[in-house]
């Protein structure tokens, strides 16, 4: 159901909102792709927001007595941030209905979790919140592992990635030897009003997706592939480049879905080989040396090609 008319789309990076709703001085790692994503998301959302957080790297954004946010914050636990959002949203609605809260004091309720919570432990509570058509935003910063505990396998960890718990070895030379869950498809099976993938390397696309989402009442869900320098074993200066390469190689498809109907919002004119992306990252270094794992590299490329072929978008 439509809530408000759609705002005019932003055309270039020069048109991004200048307001900052997360201030400098957080304890997250240098080059954190998740933080850059969050900064753009909060430009779009404004400051009348309450962030409901699940256990993950970003739990360490608010450490007593400091918070980098201009908005409110509630840390819950790992599995249940969407349930926390349900309680906050319902309570705000009740307070406004009973005239105990000025409607001007209303807040957008935003769940903020990593892939560890979103793809795994928090999946049931998210599914339930979407099922109840809770009016909320969900931002998943996906660095493809349990980053806050030092990079172990999560259900978002891709095939071929080394993590602390998928070490490449004799029995599994590829590291993780099966692919990640497709959270976009899982969430999309609920046919939420709005669902999109986003990237910190594509802020215009990101902002416009938030603008578009704003007109819907109900779940508005975002998944961002977020480079993680310590986990991916990359230089912090490469984060934006890696985010861009993930899109240009076709590994991270930028798309959106409105009530289940999927459309790609950016299709690279020519796809770069996945190796261009993989070879820059220490978590994939074992695929290249001491010996090239030809079969594994071929399979990763095939998985990407299959995805785009399925949508008949491989030019």
């Amino acid at each position: 159901m439509e809530k408000t008319p759609e705002a005019a789309p932003v055309r270039s990076i020069k048109d991004l909102p200048s307001e900052e709703n997360i201030l400098p001085g957080t304890p997250v790692c240098a080059g954190c792709g998740g933080l850059l994503t969050l900064r753009y998301c909060l430009k779009a959302l404004g400051s009348n927001v309450v962030i409901v957080n699940a256990a993950g790297c970003f739990t360490l954004l608010s450490i007593y007595p400091f918070t980098p946010f201009k908005s409110s914050w509630l840390y819950t636990a790992m599995a249940c941030a969407p349930a926390g959002a349900q309680g906050v949203r319902d309570a705000l609605d009740v307070l406004i209905e009973k005239e105990r809260l000025d409607p001007e004091d209303d807040l957008k309720v935003v769940v903020l979790t990593g892939d560890g919570a979103a793809y795994g432990m928090g999946l049931a509570s998210t599914s339930a919140a979407i099922h109840r058509n809770l009016d909320f935003y969900y931002i998943c910063y996906n660095n493809e592992a349990y980053g806050n505990t030092g990079f172990q396998q999560s259900e978002a960890t891709p095939f071929g990635s080394k993590t602390g718990t998928t070490p490449p070895g004799k029995t599994s030379p590829a590291g993780k030897d099966f692919p990640e869950k497709d959270l976009f498809e899982i969430w999309n099976s609920h046919k939420p009003p709005y669902l999109a993938t986003i990237s910190p390397a594509h802020p215009v696309d990101l902002i416009n997706k938030f603008k578009k989402a704003e007109k819907y009442r109900g779940p508005k869900l975002f998944i961002a592939l977020s480079p993680c320098p310590p986990g991916w074993a990359t230089d912090p200066s490469l984060s934006v480049k890696l985010a861009k390469l993930s899109v240009d190689t076709g590994i991270w498809a930028l798309k959106e879905s409105v009530y289940g109907e999927v459309e790609h919002t950016y299709i690279p004119k020519s796809f770069k080989p996945v190796e261009d992306y993989l070879k820059l990252q220490g978590r994939f270094a074992h695929l290249f040396k001491p010996t090239r794992q030809e079969e594994t590299l071929k399979r990763i490329q095939e998985m990407v090609d299959d995805y785009w072929n399925r949508y008949k978008l491989l030019l």
Partner: protein
């Protein structure tokens, strides 16, 4: 004393009495999830809200973990919130009990006690609610349906008092109280409003004009200890606040609920200590013991957290013998209440013989014979195995178990 015009007498189950307490407290928000034997509470509330006889919002959650999260989060946003669970569900949400208590929000929840799996079972004991002993939730344990309704009203007063700001669990036994009908005086809502005004949060809320970070991390032991000590001190303070609330409740409704209930304890020499609905069996046994010339009494623990150590000490330190009937078992140690009561008596110069019995697990009956056995042990001054729990089990029960084992091919 209340004007009888403002009170309606109804026959209510323990669950219905709980629902009435919530209705009269004019609760704003109820996230819920069903579990036997609690479900009747949330079904009743759902119906009242659907029929608009209650002005609240009800939401079906996906698990108890989510349910307690939503309840705590709503409470942290500033509405009066209720939820209920039991047994497995209570434990499924356990992580959030500690979390919500640390948020310092005035949530009230009911636990309908039921023995814990495995083996999976239905009838009550208190391992479920006592697992939350150290969480920061205050705990009120009820014997009667009237007490359930009244305790919910008192619980909101206590939780919302700014000297306390801790959530409260009101406990009742599954089946024996949840499904037992008793006459209950249901006061009119105007009377309740005098005792329990509507909730206006000053401490925890969310609004655009006053951003607030709640539930934030506290790193380093000294800061963490600071917040944990605060919770403990607030819980201790709740003892004093409880007495005030108790006095005001009595003034308004004419019923007194002290931290402990002393049944024929004043002149008693031999005292049973029990909690919850099985205390009624204990009171019958006390009467019979008195008929047989034994100066018996029963102390029922009502407020379990904060622990009313001073009241308990005063009531029993000069007795000849005290038997603690734990309807719970800490496997490898014994009764949970026994340890707590022994702890509060240890530094007393004068203290009774203190015996430990495990009784009523999974709703096992406590027969008159078992009570007689307990009184015999107290009268004997039996010091053999003192401190080790005696596991009550009758011969008939033993034979029945043997028969069932035989059917199972394990005879």
């Amino acid at each position: 004393m209340p004007d009888p015009k403002n009170v309606e007498k109804m026959m209510l189950t323990g669950n219905a009495a709980a629902a009435w307490g919530v209705r009269l407290a004019e609760v704003d928000y109820i996230p819920a999830f069903p579990i036997t034997p609690q479900t009747e509470i949330i079904e009743k509330l759902a119906k009242w809200i659907a029929d608009e006889v209650m002005d609240g919002r009800f939401v079906n959650m996906d698990s108890e973990h989510s349910m307690i999260t939503a309840a705590g989060a709503a409470s942290a946003t500033g509405v009066r919130t209720f939820t209920a669970s039991s047994s497995q569900g209570f434990l499924y949400g356990f992580e959030m009990l500690y979390t919500v208590a640390g948020w310092r929000v005035p949530l009230v929840m009911v636990n309908v006690s039921r023995g814990l799996s495995s083996p999976i079972t239905l009838e009550p004991d208190h391992n479920d609610v006592l697992a939350a002993r150290d969480s920061g939730f205050l705990q009120i344990h009820c014997e009667t349906c009237q007490e359930v309704l009244d305790s919910i009203l008192m619980a909101y007063r206590l939780a919302e008092d700014k000297r306390v700001l801790l959530p409260v669990i009101v406990n009742l036994d599954g089946f024996y109280l949840s499904f037992t009908r008793e006459p209950v005086e249901v006061p009119d809502v105007a009377m309740v409003r005098k005792f329990l005004p509507s909730y206006r949060p000053e401490h925890a809320f969310f609004k655009a004009s006053q951003p607030m970070a709640q539930g934030v991390a506290a790193l380093g032991g000294s800061l963490y200890s600071y917040f944990k000590y605060q919770m403990h001190l607030a819980s201790q303070k709740a003892l004093e606040v409880y007495k005030e609330v108790c006095g005001e409740f009595e003034k308004e409704f004419g019923r007194n609920y002290d931290t402990i209930e002393s049944y024929m304890v004043d002149d008693a020499e031999y005292v049973l200590i029990m909690t919850n609905s099985f205390s009624t069996l204990g009171k019958v046994a006390v009467k019979k013991a008195r008929e047989n010339g034994i100066k018996a009494g029963l102390l029922r623990l009502r407020l379990f957290r904060p622990f009313p150590a001073a009241d308990i000490k005063d009531a029993i330190h000069s007795k000849k013998a005290v038997a603690v009937l734990d309807q719970n078992i800490s496997i490898g140690k014994g009764g949970i209440l026994y340890s707590e009561i022994a702890g509060c008596l240890y530094n007393e110069k004068q203290r009774p013989l203190l015996l430990s019995f495990i009784a009523g697990l999974g709703g096992k009956n406590i027969s008159q014979k078992e009570f007689e056995f307990i009184f015999d042990k107290m009268l004997e001054g039996d010091t053999e195995d003192v401190g080790m729990p005696r596991l009550l089990y009758t011969e008939a029960e033993w034979k029945e178990a043997a028969k069932l084992k035989e059917i199972a091919g394990r005879g």
